[in-house]
């Protein structure tokens, strides 16, 4: 058995790059660290961390008024005041000239009180968070990396909580320069206590705080309490016009921050569609689902989900009269008056479409009456 003890391997004529091994046994190749735990690929527990997919608003600005309203895919706002206080939009302002970012802008100031807090949050499905082995003796260290930029400098907080918020980890980070992208890296120590969902529920939620009432403030590190910030958190939400950009969010097993894992667009979209699926008919008379049965004023078109959804989804749509039933025989059409779930599973969704007129034949296509009408299936956490 022979052993080679080196800390650096370089090309003899080029002294930069090559392989380096630091005193913690972290191996870097050309300056990029390799993981210290977990697999080499499929490492990011965060989905859509580079803010690329926005099925709901197509990147347009929205001012969510309710708490836990989803904005970009997999990202929801925490707005426990339940009043529209800030806008959210996809921005071309990028930390790396590749990825878009999420831009939040304060439109109406607020001073959070009690348990109120403002944040941008992603709940991670238990099936995915299971690799952290949280709550067990084998619990892993996690590393969170992201890029932020704000018009307001100071101390900000990010938290990781389990689904019943009986365990929370809070870390502070500093934005030093106004309107400048800054990379952040936070190590989350292993947690051997608490209950952590490992199936289709929420395994853990990552929340970037933008203002908190005193009853959601705690200390840094792990605690048996529902905390999202410390008392040092910048009161961003109380500064009219303040901006906050975020992108490149990655949470991975191990103590080393590896480069952001950029997926192909189709892979990332499929990951998002497990939780939310939007079908937009960009042209009038688009056939969006087929029904092989029904009666004179009723039919049951079925949609097939492109990926298995997390749960049987709820449905939503632009308006019932945006859709028509087109009969199989005779070509008669009738405008829909009501659309509801008939049967929903994680793979397919059959809806009941009622029409007022008798011109819609039994069975038939569900088609859009106009362009830009939409159907959505929601299995978010």
């Amino acid at each position: 058995m022979s052993e080679l003890r080196v800390q650096e391997i370089h090309n003899p004529t080029v002294q930069t790059g090559g392989i380096e091994i630091d005193n913690n046994d972290v191996v870097s190749i050309n300056g990029q660290a390799l993981p210290t735990a977990g697999a080499f690929g499929n490492r990011n527990l965060i989905i859509n961390g580079n803010m690329l997919i926005d099925q709901r608003n197509s990147g347009s600005s929205t001012t969510p008024s309710g708490d836990q309203t989803y904005v970009f895919d997999r990202w929801k706002v925490r707005n426990s005041n339940a009043t529209g206080r800030f806008s959210v939009e996809q921005s071309g302002t990028s930390p790396n000239d590749i990825d878009p970012s999420m831009l939040l802008t304060v439109t109406t100031t607020d001073t959070p009180s009690g348990v109120e807090f403002y944040a941008i949050e992603q709940p991670i499905e238990g099936h995915n968070f299971a690799r952290a082995a949280a709550g067990s003796a084998n619990s892993e260290i996690l590393t969170l990396t992201f890029f932020v930029r704000s018009s307001l400098t100071g101390t900000y907080c990010v938290s990781l909580r389990n689904s019943d918020a009986s365990r929370s980890f809070v870390a502070e980070y500093t934005i030093d320069r106004v309107d400048t992208w800054e990379p952040q890296t936070i190590e989350v120590p292993a947690i051997t206590t608490g209950t952590w969902n490992t199936t289709t529920g929420t395994g853990a939620s990552v929340a970037f705080c933008l203002g908190s009432g005193p009853d959601r403030e705690g200390s840094t590190g792990w605690q048996s309490a529902n905390a999202v910030a410390t008392s040092n958190q910048v009161d961003w939400i109380n500064s009219n016009g303040a901006t906050f950009f975020i992108s490149g969010v990655q949470l991975e097993v191990g103590s080393v921050a590896t480069p952001f894992e950029r997926l192909s667009y189709s892979t990332q979209l499929a990951l998002c569609q497990r939780y939310y699926l939007s079908i937009v008919a960009v042209e009038a008379n688009s056939r969006i689902a087929i029904a092989g049965n029904g009666s004179i004023n009723q039919c049951f078109p079925t949609f097939f989900a492109p990926t298995t959804m997390r749960a049987a989804p709820a449905i939503d749509f632009s308006a019932a009269n945006d859709f028509q039933v087109e009969g199989i025989a005779g070509g008669g059409k009738a405008t829909a008056t009501s659309i509801t779930i008939n049967r929903a599973t994680t793979e397919s969704i059959t809806v009941q479409v009622d029409t007022a007129g008798g011109t819609g034949a039994s069975g038939g296509n569900l088609l859009s009456e106009n362009n830009n009408v939409w159907f959505a299936f929601n299995a978010e956490l």
């Binding site: 529920g201 749960a311 007022a356």
Partner: protein, 89 residues
């Protein structure tokens, strides 16, 4: 927020409608909208009962012919030919 029950054509409860929206919610324990509904129920609230859609307007003979893919002339020619063959037989 308030809710309304929704039955299928056989009278079985199949989903919950969120009143004032187009959202309908499956009876799926993992669905967070359904979990919110159950929490709303647990607060002592009661959903609105199911209201069946009005019965369909009976089709006219002309509509039935059209649904079968005929126009009246084609149907007339078809029947005349059928009667003629019967008479010959």
């Amino acid at each position: 927020m308030s809710y309304q029950l929704h039955n299928d054509q056989d009278g079985n409860l199949v989903c919950i409608r969120k009143i004032g929206t187009n959202v309908s919610i499956p009876l799926a324990p993992d669905n967070t909208d359904y979990q919110e509904y159950l929490a709303w129920l647990a607060e002592g609230n009661t959903p609105a009962p199911y209201v069946a859609p009005p019965p369909p307007t009976p089709l006219t003979t002309e509509q039935k012919i059209a649904r079968a893919g005929f126009n009246e002339g084609e149907l007339e020619d078809f029947l005349v030919e059928k009667i003629r063959r019967r008479l010959i037989e």
